[in-house]
Symmetry: C2
Subunit: 172 residues, 2 copies
DNA sequence: ATCGCCTAGTCGACTTGTCAACTACTGTAC
DNA sequence: GTACAGTAGTTGACAAGTCGACTAGGCGAT
């Protein structure tokens, strides 16, 4: 459900193919949602079946044909309805924290490498987000809202780094 | 897979019933994982089938019988193996941020109530975590590790509140 | 020329997670 | 005296997400 709405939201910004959507989930939308491409294509098919989107096959110039998906009026209504509805409650799920939680079953070295791996992953993500942040500017309200969610990701990654410092300090 | 390991980890701390596990996911483990009770009972059955846990029926005094699950040696080995294995990569999924991302489709009031709802939910969670934090002390390495993950949750919730302030400020 | 990568999309099998209903007993509040 | 909340567990139907393999053409490098 959420994925269908997010795709609808992306289609509302611009018509896209499943491939384009996948790239968005791997970059601009990656800080709040991810999706497998199989799932993306299936969801697109469902959106079309529900009349929330339309397909137009665009002949690819030197590339495969593109199935451009465009949001319909019904789709826009469904999106607006979702936005105004009660937010779904968040389910926290962090396998890294789970490992730390049970870290007693790990020796000092194992724990250290667990933290080191996390640190690296967070740094990588942070670099990507900051790059993205620098590439975009808040031209209108929509862009400003999108940037603000990116700032959320950046803030949390910085918090994670600070926590890593404190945690490693405390567990010495 | 992760849920099975987390349950194994909890059983390694103390033998438990599915009901006990559910309460843990709703409290002490809730900051890094949640689980539906149907899923918990099914996973427990799988752990028993795999020889990672054993069941013992304890007659309930005035209450229903309890199916106490105890980790086996094989289960402990599986848990240790998981802890030492490559961490699964994190999939960020936040429906609230998704809503903000597409917030252009919402009027000022809708956006305000979206933020207000989040703020309230975060406050509530933070209060729960801080309560938990105050109730527990770091007696040994295991307890220290568990508390440190709780601190992670607290740090992120505080960051979220700060971000909410900044975001609302910026979007005025 | 052949290998790997990018674009673009499809399919089947599978795992994981969610929802709602249902059984069954106890203790407490109204 | 009965309605509700808590303990304890089960089941079926679904929805959501993951993985790997497959087709198919184009482009650049070796």
């Amino acid at each position: 459900m959420v994925l269908a709405r997010i795709i609808l939201g992306l289609l509302a910004i611009a018509p896209m193919t499943g491939y384009d959507l996948k790239r968005h989930f791997d970059s601009t939308a990656g800080h709040f949602w991810t999706a497998d491409k199989a799932q993306i294509y299936r969801t697109l098919a469902k959106l079309v079946a529900d009349g929330h989107a339309e397909v137009e096959t665009v002949a690819g110039s030197g590339a495969p044909d593109r199935q451009e998906h465009r949001i319909t009026a019904a789709g826009e209504a469904a999106l607006a309805e979702w936005l105004a509805s009660e937010p779904e409650r968040q389910t926290e799920r962090d396998p890294f924290l789970a490992r730390v939680f049970f870290g007693a079953g790990l020796d000092e070295d194992g724990l250290r490498s667990l933290f080191a791996g996390r640190r690296e992953a967070v740094h990588e993500r942070l670099a990507r987000y900051e790059q993205l942040r620098a590439e975009n500017s808040a031209t209108d309200r929509g862009a400003r809202l999108r940037l603000v969610t990116l700032d959320n990701g950046i803030a949390h990654l910085r918090t994670e780094l600070a926590w890593l410092d404190a945690a490693e300090e405390e567990l010495t």
